[in-house]
Structures are given as C-alpha cells and as structure tokens.
C-alpha cells in the first residue's frame, strides 16, 4: 500500500521566492500521476520535496499515511529516475543497479537475482559488464530505470526522464514505460513538460503554472472540460483557438457572435448555460482546431478568413488562417476526404469560410479565465 498525500505543501526559498503555493493532492495506491507544466512551474520542485531532496517549507507529505517531512530520502522507501540518469560513471551497469542493494547489505545471490531479473525486463542483459560511457542515451535510460526498479520501493518518481532523448526514441520509450507500469504495479509520480507524455501515460494529470495547481483530472477530463484558459491552451496540440466574442441569450437559446457570425450553442452545453442562468456578456470562446470545419460557402453562421500558411502533416492539413481583424486561428482538415479541387484552392491568400458546431465550444469568463460551465 503506497498512497501519497500532499497537504498544503509550500516551497519558499531563502530570498522569499515562492516556488510552490499550497499544493494539495491525494495520490491513490498504484496510481500513475503526471505533473505537467511549462518550465519553472514548480513540478520538479514538488517531486523533489516528495523525494526528500528539497526541504518542505510548509505543509506535510505523507507516504502510506506516515508523515515523511523529516525523513531522509533513504528512509522514505522511494526510487527515483533522474533527467540526466545520474549513473555512477566509474561502476559497471551491474554495480550501478546493485548499489542500493549492497547498501542494504543483502546477500550477493539475492542481489544477483534481482539485478538479472530487472535487466531481462529492460533488455539490457548484454550490457551488464559495460560502463555507462559505453552506452547510448536510450540504454543509459534503461539502466537508470533498472536501478530504481530493483528497490521494490513504494513510490516510483521520474523527473523528466525522456527529455534527453530524440523524438523517435521518446515515442518508443513512452510505450515501454506503459508496459513497465503494468509489470511493476506500484505508485508512479512522473514529471514532464510535454503534454503528450502526460496525456498518454497518466491516470491523472496535475497541470501546474507558476507554482499553482491549475487543474487535476484524468486525461479525458482535462481535455474535454478544462477548468481554465491555461489548461485549455496547454493540453492539445495544436493549441485551442481563442476568440474574444459576445455570448447572447435570446428566449432561452444561447448564441455566440464571433467575427460577425451567429452560431447557436447546442446540446448539453446550451442546457447547462440555461441551468446556470448565465447572462449574455463578453466571454472568451475556445474551439479546438480539429473541431473547426471548412464551409462550402458563406452564410450567417460562417466566419470569413484568409489562408496564411498551409502545413502538410501527412494525414491532415494544418491551415493557419486569419480573420478580418487579424485574429489568427488554426484549422485541422483531414486529407483523406479532400477532393483535389478543394485541395488546390488551399493556397496562400485564399479566402475561406469556416464554421463550427455548438457542442465543441468552451466558454471562459473574461476576467477570471475560469470555465463558465464549471463551478
């Protein structure tokens, strides 16, 4: 059983800089939680506080119900994989992995079994007698994971482990981490700045900015119901399109008026707006690029735009367009059903019409940037 609970955790440096404000989180046993956010948001600092490598200024960290604020890292029963692997350069791979076990004074044959097991799972059995400088980046990564694996610890901490790998290797390792998680069956706390990793790996994602938690939720929750503008823009690539527009209410039906168009709000969202009796006002409207469609011709519910850049992504096109007043939007168009005539018309400067349905809109308050539909 290894739950992790952070209560009112703060990190304040000597020069009064606050790196982490009032962090509260309950991590269940065997859960895979990802801390994600831009650099400097405090995610690594929080992880290091859980590990015991940074002092906790205020608040408590509990591992398995026990407050660990004053415990040394080695007494917290955690394992950690560092961003730059931190392998001991003068020891072989075998000795690197065995190091912590030898400190615990386990018998050598037990150590042998544990190390070779881990090596087999990770596929590094051939490298056991090599030194770190003779390994590639991906291999070193695996050794670092192996070192953490053999400890049978309660919590597995990973600090941006894939940042130093090239794009292709990163994709590969992501899948391996998912497999690893199934094999190890323990609690994971994973830190990254890459929202793709967060979405694919995490049971729950904690999105942080400037030391504050912006939202905690499952990947689906943060994608479909972002609590605020920051989360909406951070999750999903390319970024969600943001428009400043008016929300109006006529006879119980809601409409938005971006750039002269008039689009009805439909379905659950419309009902929810009604329920909350949201008055008509200026709002921030968010629509994801994949939810915008090209309209065949202009109409009351289309927005006229001009095409600036056309990015060919393979299975889809990313169209960078701009409206009459200069607002820039991105539209994702699948190439598979696109007929050649339409495709050829997508050149720089082409005039297009775009529209979107009422179910895909996100409404944010203009001042608080909070999602209007959520409490």
């Amino acid at each position: 059983m290894a739950s992790v609970k952070l209560t009112n955790v703060k990190k304040i440096y000597d020069n009064k800089v606050v790196a982490v404000h009032d962090f509260n989180l309950d991590i269940k046993d065997k859960e895979f939680v990802v801390f994600v956010g831009p650099s400097g948001c405090g995610k690594s600092t929080t992880l290091r506080m859980v590990a015991g490598l940074e002092e906790i200024s205020e608040g408590t960290v509990e591992i398995d119900g026990e407050v660990v604020n004053d415990l040394q890292p080695k007494d917290r029963n955690i394992a950690m994989v560092f961003q730059n692997y931190a392998l001991y350069p003068h020891m072989t791979v075998y000795d690197n992995i065995a190091f912590s076990l030898r400190l615990q004074k386990l018998p050598e044959d037990v150590i042998y079994n544990k190390v070779t097991n881990a090596a087999e799972i990770l596929g590094i059995t051939d490298y056991l007698m090599r030194k770190p400088r003779a390994l590639s980046g991906g291999q070193r990564q695996r050794v670092a994971i192996g070192r953490a694996m053999v400890r049978d610890s309660k919590v597995f901490l990973m600090d941006e482990p894939l940042s130093n790998l090239d794009a292709k290797l990163r994709n590969q390792m992501r899948a391996e981490i998912i497999l690893l998680r199934q094999k190890l069956n323990t609690t994971f706390i994973y830190v990254t700045h890459d929202q793709t990793e967060a979405m694919t790996l995490g049971d729950r994602i904690v999105i942080m900015k400037d030391g504050y938690i912006m939202q905690v939720g499952t990947p689906t929750e943060v994608f479909e119901m972002p609590e605020n503008l920051f989360v909406a823009e951070f999750i999903g690539a390319p970024k969600m399109n943001i428009m400043h527009t008016e929300l109006s209410c006529e006879n119980g039906k809601y409409y938005v008026h971006p750039f002269g168009a008039r689009l009805p709000v439909e379905g659950d969202k419309g009902a929810k707006l009604n329920e909350l009796r949201v008055p008509g006002k200026q709002i921030i409207l968010g629509v994801r690029p994949e939810h915008i469609q090209l309209a065949k011709e202009a109409g009351p519910n289309t927005i006229p735009v001009k095409l600036e850049v056309n990015e060919m992504m393979g299975s889809e096109l990313h169209l960078h367009v701009y409206t009459e007043d200069g607002t820039r939007l991105i539209v994702r168009v699948p190439t598979i059903d696109l007929d050649p005539e339409q495709r050829n018309s997508l050149v720089q400067g082409a005039a297009l019409n775009i529209t979107f349905g009422g179910k895909v809109m996100h409404f944010f308050d203009k001042e608080t940037e909070h999602n209007i539909l959520l409490p």
Binding site: G52, P73, K74, M80, F82, L87, P89, S100, L103, Q104
Partner: protein, 385 residues
C-alpha cells in the same frame, strides 16, 4: 569593395621607415645624455657612437643606459631599412593579384614559423642553462669556490662524498625535509580535501561568510604569525633541534585555507550523482567515499603532489623554526648556511651544487612521473579558483 581611397601599402611602409629614421635623432641626444657626454656636439656624438659600434668591448657598466639605447637605435634603423627595401619592391612590382597574395601569406607563415622555432630553442637553452651549470659544477674537484669556467678540469664525486660525510649535516637536513614532505603529503591532503569537498557539496548557512573570512585571513602576511607560533612551539619543545614535528604542525594546521583548486574540481562533478546515491540509501559519508572519491583521482594526486613538494622549497618558516640550530634545519635553510658569508661560500660553492643536484633529482623524477595530474590541476582548478 573599399569605397575609401587608401594609400598603397608601399607608400605607407616608406612613411613608417621615414618616421623611424627621424626618431633616431632624439635618441642620439638621449644617448649623449646617458653617456655623460653632454659637452659634445651632435656630430661628435654620432662619431663616438659609430666608433663604439665598431669596437663594442670593453663596455662600461656605468653607461649601460647608453649601450641599450644604441642597440635600440640600431634595431630601429634595421627595421627602417627592411621596410624601405620591401616598399621599393612593392612599388616597382605594382598591385598583386589574389593568388600571389595568398602565396605571400604562406611564405610569411613559413618565415614566422622558423623564427618561432629559433626563438623556442633559445628559450629552452636559457631556461635550462643554470641547471646544466649546477650539474657540471657539482663534479668539479680542483677547487671549491666560484671560477670563471663551467666545464670542470678534473671530474670526480668529491663534492657528493663530502656532503654525505661525517662532518656535514646535509643527511640530517635531507632526512628532516623528507619526513616533513611525507607527513605533509598525507595530512595536508586529508585536510584540504575535507575542506574543499564540504565547501563544494554542502550548502549551509555559514558557507559564504566562511569563504569570505578565509579570503580576508589570507591577506595577512603569513610570516607575521611565525613569531608567536615560534613561542608556542618552543614552549612545547618543538623548535630548534626538534623543529620537524613543529613545522609539520604549522604546515598542516592551516592548510585548509588552500582549498580553491580542489573545490573547483569537485564543483565539476554533477550533483545529481550525489542525489541518486542518497535516494539509493547512502549516507553523506558513504557518498563521499564510494562515489565522489573514486572519481577524483586526478585532483587527489595533484593535492598529494603539491603537498609533498612544498616543504622542499620552504625557507621562511623553516628558518624561524630551526632558529640557527643545524639539527632542525631543512635543506633550504641548511644549504643557505653554506653560502652565508664569503668565506663559507669560498669553501662550499661546489658542495652547494652537489647538494642541489641531490635534492632536485628525486623531486624532479616524482614530478615528471605525475606531471599529467599537476597540469590537470593547474589548468582545471586553478583557473576557475
């Protein structure tokens, strides 16, 4: 494309040459003043100078200034002549095309390389010359005082024998210094490494104030402290004949202040290694011994080497501590007594040379074997210090 009109290089060279020649006139006046010939006229001075250049020796040391100025003037004139020749060739040949300019660059490169090689040979000779002298003179048998020739007339080991013979204290000095070097090498290394590792790895409240404090402390002249340390040591009986343990104490006790180079080295080892080890369950002490030290071989050897070599060259502290008692001296102080007065110098000059060779050889051999580490220490840590 140059839009400004520039003078052809030949003209520039001629102008420079003219300036150089013009400078010679005031130089001649200066020479006249330096040679105390103020009464002579300009023409007379020029005549004297030409005469002196033709018959340079014997030079009067009192007029060294005039000699140096004459040499300077000759140098300037030579450069001016070369410039004129090159300028004339330049102007006659006209502007050169790209290719010949490149060829000119290559020949210029070859010329400068040869010049540098010659210079390096000269430098090497100058640097090694005194030591060659010492070695040669140590084998001189026919006399023990300074003479005007280098190569001995009669070769022999007499000097070496005499420094190790019964009446000489040299073996005692040698032993003293050797013991001090050994003890210092071990103890000082331990202390310096403790200090530099702590300052590099740990972040505690008094860290910056401590470093500033030691910086300021180092600005006091060290030998001032010897006066009182001598008193304390003599109360403990560790001076004069028993200066060796006293000196070891003095060298080692304050060696913590010399942490800069080692600290610079430790700073280059990534802290994430420490952190990984601590997460793996190591205490901070185990981190030092199992992780950091194995990676620090170069700096440890550097520290041992410099600590070992220091007592061989120390003069002031050893002189204070031994206070004219021959039994407690180290080689530096002891050999200095051989040359203290002219009469002693008369009798001991060649002995001194022999002693110098005996002292230098083991130290040099040790140094040359480990020079790789010394170089690493100097270029790596000392610079960042």
């Amino acid at each position: 494309m140059k839009t400004r009109k520039s003078l052809p290089s030949g003209i520039v060279m001629l102008i420079v040459a003219a300036c150089l020649i013009a400078v010679c006139a005031p130089l001649i006046l200066w020479i006249r003043h330096a040679a105390a010939m103020d009464s002579a006229s300009f023409m007379e001075t020029c005549q004297t100078i030409v005469h002196r250049i033709a018959h340079p020796f014997p030079i009067d040391p009192d007029h060294m200034g005039a000699v140096l100025l004459t040499i300077l003037m000759l140098l300037l004139l030579a450069i001016a002549v070369v410039l004129v020749i090159v300028a004339v060739i330049n102007l006659l040949r006209g502007p050169r095309d790209e290719q010949s300019r490149h060829m000119g660059l290559r020949t210029a490169n070859a010329i400068s390389n040869t010049a540098i090689h010659i210079l390096l040979v000269v430098i090497s000779v100058i640097w090694l010359l005194p030591f060659i002298f010492i070695v040669l003179q140590s084998f001189r048998v026919e006399s023990t005082y300074q003479v005007g020739y280098i190569i001995p007339e009669k070769w022999g080991f007499d000097n070496y024998v005499s420094i190790f013979s019964a009446g000489s204290n040299f073996p005692r000095w040698y032993l003293n210094t050797f013991i001090m070097a050994l003890a210092t090498a071990v103890l000082q290394t331990v202390i310096v490494l403790c200090m530099s590792y702590t300052l590099s790895r740990f972040r505690f409240k008094m860290r910056k104030p401590l470093m500033k404090f030691m910086l300021v402390l180092g600005m006091f002249p060290g030998i001032l402290g010897m006066i009182i340390l001598y008193r304390i040591l003599s109360d403990l009986g560790l001076t004069q004949a028993h200066a060796v343990p006293g000196l070891i104490l003095v060298y080692v006790a304050s060696s913590g202040m010399g942490y800069y180079v080692s600290k610079g080295f430790f700073d280059t080892i990534p802290k994430s290694l420490d952190e990984a080890a601590r997460v793996d369950g190591a205490t901070r002490a185990q981190v030092l011994f199992k992780i950091i030290l194995p990676l620090s071989k170069p700096i440890v050897i550097y520290t041992i080497l410099t600590a070992f070599m220091a007592p061989w060259g120390d003069f002031v502290f050893a002189k204070y501590a031994s206070m004219n008692n021959q039994l407690g001296m180290n080689v530096a102080v002891g050999m200095n007594t051989w040359l203290a007065t002219p009469s002693m110098l008369f009798a001991n000059y060649t002995k001194f040379c022999a002693g110098g060779v005996v002292v230098a050889i083991p130290v040099v051999i040790l140094f040359m074997c480990l020079q790789r580490y010394y170089v690493e220490g100097v270029t790596g840590g000392a610079v960042k210090g």
